[in-house]
């Protein structure tokens, strides 16, 4: 994670906005001339999509975990080396649909070739936590033939929000504000009814005003990160807005 500027705490709502709200689009970066820009774009692509891709290969194509690992590594190696993702045209559809169809084609070709895909396509394999992804497969139903896209979307959404939460935790930890992350998780991710602010205050030895301020700041940071990641993963303003609508539902439409 890149360094994050820390603003001074305001009296209300905690720190002033300090999260990077503008991140360049990796989709655009894939076609950039500068190698470091392409490398950064590739890194974001892998970070954003490796888990949905792995799960998709495992569940949709019912591949054994070792084969799915090879196919996932092979797919990203193929994508990064050939730079074929630079051919994506935002006017013709969403990037995620383009990626999924490309993955379908890649797996079909690999099956046709009948040979095991060489892990990483000959280059150093990416460092991916397949064990964690494997753990998330428990209880995951394979998609119905007519809802493959929705299934892939749902896994991408789960991955994106999970990534945002991890970044939120890490950033607050960096700032020495772990309580903020803990309050956010307790308030918004507890099963059942969320606790009252008074209960949270008692649990954390704070007063209710402090809880209110911490939560307001955490929510703001969470929303900023969600939007920043969506910006990063979309090609242009139109696709960004379409993805925001897909993720956040009708509230945005």
């Amino acid at each position: 994670m890149g360094s994050i500027a820390v603003g001074s705490d305001t009296e209300m709502g905690g720190p002033s906005p300090a999260f990077p709200t503008t991140r360049p689009s990796f989709v655009a970066g894939m076609g950039a001339e500068a190698p470091d820009e392409r490398a950064r774009a590739g890194e974001v692509l892998v970070r954003s999509y490796w888990k949905p891709v792995y799960k998709y290969v495992r569940v949709r194509f019912r591949k054994a975990n070792e084969d799915a690992k090879d196919l996932t590594q092979g797919f990203f190696a193929h994508a990064l080396e050939r730079e074929w993702l630079a051919r994506f045209d935002a006017r013709r559809g969403r990037f995620r649909s383009f990626l999924r169809l490309a993955l379908d084609g890649f797996v079909a070709n690999a099956e046709k070739a009948g040979a095991r895909v060489k892990r990483g396509g000959g280059r150093a394999p990416l460092s991916l936590d397949f064990e964690a992804a494997e753990g998330e497969l428990v209880g995951l139903e394979p998609p119905a033939p007519d809802s493959v896209e929705a299934w892939f979307d749902a896994e991408w959404r789960r991955g994106l929000l999970g990534g945002v939460l991890a970044e939120l935790d890490a950033t607050f930890a960096e700032r020495g504000q772990d309580v903020r992350a803990a309050l956010f998780r307790r308030q918004h991710l507890s099963e059942g009814e969320p606790p009252s602010y008074a209960e949270l205050a008692r649990e954390h030895g704070l007063d209710v005003t402090a809880v209110t301020n911490h939560l307001a700041a955490a929510r703001r940071a969470f929303r900023e990160l969600v939007l920043a990641r969506l910006r990063e993963q979309t090609a242009d303003e139109a696709e960004f807005r379409a993805e925001v609508r897909a993720l956040l539902g009708s509230e945005w439409t």
Binding site: T10, M12, G13, P17, L165, L248
Partner: protein, 309 residues
Amino acid sequence: MKPLSDEAVARLAELASKPEVPGGRYEVLERVGAGGMSTVYRARDRQLERDVAIKVVRDERRPGALAERLRQEAHILAALEHPSIPPVHEIGELADGRAYCVLRFVRGTTLARAELGPRNARLRLFLRLCEAVAYAHGRGVVHRDLKPDNVMLGPLGELYVMDWGIAGALDGADPGAGGTPGFSAPEQEAGAGGAVDARADVYALAGLLAFLASGRAPGANGALALGGLPRPLAAVIARGRERDPARRQPSALELARDVAAFLDQEPVSAYREGPLERAGRFLSKHRFVAWLVVGYLVLRALVFFVYRR
């Protein structure tokens, strides 16, 4: 790390969808309504410790045009200082770039859903509605979307005219499509461009009057069901619903005057009554005097019969 459950994903997506007003002054609490162009949230103003409404542009397909419309609405509301028109507190841009405005949070229910009591009470409510609309007309603003859903009633009987989203200047060009079938004036639906004036609101007010008087809203084609209403009241409504704006009451105040006259059992400008109707109205209005006269005549008759024996 444990993967997010479907429920957690849904909760976080909902959380992220709530608007984030820069500065941290407002905490968005819940979504309370949505229209074609905007979504309205109840939020807490943490500085002044009160609830406010935050209206956020909704349609991302034409964000620039709608943001401009929202700003226009905010400027119109800022120019209208009337107890029945909710004031605007602030306009701006959310962290995600959408335009928003902060308004008074109006508690209560819409006219479409409220329990409104007997007919005369409903008609008196209509008079207050006309006053607010006439005030806006006096300030050069035409609402263009008056309907039961856009009128709120507070718990203490307060009345608010809401949703000035497609309001426009009386002397300006038609701001574009909008309005609600059944309530929008024909010239507004035709998109005459610049031809919409206060009489378009008179048409919609007459539709509201029909709703309040009969409990039935106009059909989407503008058709009214006025059966069972007193003829003068039906005539007032029918005049307000004339297709030709020149044949309607010329202003909201004129329409209100007719309704007030009906309530006071006076003749209304929209209806020419016959001698029997006039007599009936007179007797109905001067019931006490009529009973006195009847009593006197009965007494005289009794005296006549007693002394004749």
